[in-house]
Amino acid sequence: MTDIESNPLTGQPAPAEGYVTADGRQIGGVLMDLRNITLRFGGVEAIKNISFDVREGEIRAIIGPNGAGKSSMLNVISGFYVPQEGEVWFKGYKRGPMRPYEVARLGIARTFQNIALFDGMTVLDNIMTGRLNKTKSGFLSQALWWGAAEREEIANREQVERIIDFLEIQNIRKTPVGRLPYGLKKRVELARALAAEPQILLLDEPMAGMNVEEKEDMSRFVLDVNDEFGTTIVLIEHDMGVVMDLSDRVVVMDYGRKIGDGSPDEVRNNQEVIDAYLGVAHD
């Protein structure tokens, strides 16, 4: 973590050594640092020169109106889009060009805005796919189901069962995901991401389309994940109430630009943010 001090670009007040949140949790140093990210599709700039950091153990939210470039930002982090300019630093190292599956191996897992489960598989198998980067047994061992393959399968299953318990989805273990209602699908997706034991968990609108009760459940799970596993969380959410309650720090995006960054209270009182949300004409 040598380069944290030498990073003047993020331009935010949080001290390099971490800080203590309102509810008394100790937040660590910089885990991931995005520097001057610019992403273009043809002539359209989806993300314009955005920098912010994510600290170990915090819940970081990205908010903004539709089309602000939030999901694109998440896609940059998970390696699906390659930005034309800018750098992604992770755990003190600059990340080279990487395919999404390599990013996953670094310990970054995510959920999707439009649920991306594997419809032809059961809930259990879906969550088990989250363990694939923890699987070391070779091809031959798996083909003959000999030694390491079976041992690992059972170890993975035990870990997955813990997550199933945690998210309270025991009763749908063997159900094909295609048959599940929306809210449960979102939960299974979270389970799959958790099964990878990620260091950073990216949640793309985890509560979109849910009713109040489901939102409460999901909020509880997000907080518990952060609390029990110490997982750093980056989430995109539209529901302001949820964002302000859950997150430690918030990045506000509008039209691909960053217009605010700070604690929920700071962001709430930021004039530019208020304008963006109340819809002041853009010049």
Partner: protein, 327 residues
């Protein structure tokens, strides 16, 4: 110098074969654009159309083998024969009927399925139609003559002999086929661009749901598109049938049209035409220059390998729309 003349003759013949490929590929593109179905049965439809045309012209009794086998009769032909124009019209009618039946029995039940399932359904359809054509009209090789001029064109041979000192051998049937195919393509483009039905067809191609919501009948559009594809198949069947007889191998032209589509992009009419020409010329020239070194018959695979290599570099084809992936 002679080598150059040979090569250009091969080139011209390749162009004309290419036009025929384009014609079949066009049938694919039409159906794909309007219904998202990749119709593997297009080639068998051409065979079926050609068989029906011959059958009607010669006054064959349909299903005569089946009837004879079941009832012990000895039916074969009615006492009449039918002129080409009437027979073509009747066959076109049969193809429309076929389109209606396919829509009712197959497509309607597969709405909203994945493209690959639909594709496999059309492979089933191809088998069914192949069997049906044989049961209806018999599997023997038939000659088809609707009065199109055939044979090497003396005029061209003499003219080129005078100009270059080398007479080009070009089949008159190929020339006619090129002209007819060009007219058909022009008519189809005009139809899809300038008529109400054509607009509806393009709307359906863009988005089924949206088209439904503005009051376009999917059922009608599909029947129409499959009828048009049936008509295109009929024209292709006439050309290829006249050229090399009506037999099973005729249905294999569909297999030749597939690489044309990959090259041109599945949704592009100009793509089908340019792709057809490239492959027609390419495979003839390749066979001419490289074929003798490797034992010949490279036409069997050249088109596929060319399309494959091409696709690896440009997955959406020559004129296809660029694919933007999102999650």
């Amino acid at each position: 110098m002679d080598q150059l003349f040979y090569a250009s003759e091969v080139f011209i013949n390749g162009l004309m074969t290419g036009v025929m490929y384009s014609l079949v590929a066009l049938g694919f593109v039409l159906i794909f654009k309007a219904s998202g179905v990749f119709n593997y049965a297009q080639g068998v439809m051409a065979l079926f159309a050609a068989l029906t045309l011959v059958g009607i012209m010669e006054g064959q009794v349909p299903f005569s083998h089946l009837i004879n086998a079941t009832f012990g009769t000895h039916l074969s032909n009615f006492s009449w024969t039918v002129g080409p124009v009437v027979a073509i019209l009747l066959t076109a009618g049969v193809m429309v009927l076929l389109a209606i039946v396919i829509e009712k029995l197959v497509l309607q039940h597969l709405v909203g399925q994945e493209p690959i399932i639909l594709f496999m359904a059309t492979i089933g359809l191809a088998y069914f139609l192949e069997g049906l054509g044989d049961v209806m009209w018999g599997a023997d090789i038939k000659t088809l003559d609707v009065g199109l001029p055939q044979g090497i064109s003396d005029t061209i041979e003499q003219a080129t002999a005078n100009w270059f000192g080398y007479g080009f051998f070009i089949d008159r049937l190929d020339i006619w086929a090129t002209i007819i195919a060009a007219l058909l393509v022009a008519a189809l483009v005009a139809f899809s661009q300038y008529t109400k039905q054509g607009r509806a067809m393009r709307a359906v191609a863009d988005d089924h749901q949206a088209a439904l919501s503005v009051g376009i009948s999917l059922q009608f559009i599909w029947i129409m598109v499959w009828s048009i594809a049936g008509f295109v198949a009929l024209v292709a069947g006439i050309m290829w049938g006249t050229k090399s007889g009506v037999q099973f191998s005729l249905s294999l032209i569909a297999l030749k049209a597939l690489p044309v589509l990959m090259l041109g992009g599945f949704t592009s009419i100009p793509g089908a035409i340019v792709g057809g020409l490239i492959i027609g010329v390419g495979e003839k020239l390749f066979e001419f220059f490289v074929g003798p070194m490797v034992g010949g018959a490279t036409e069997n695979w050249f088109a596929y390998v060319l399309a494959l290599i091409f696709l690896v570099f440009r997955p959406q084809g020559l004129f296809g729309e660029r694919i933007i992936e999102r999650v």
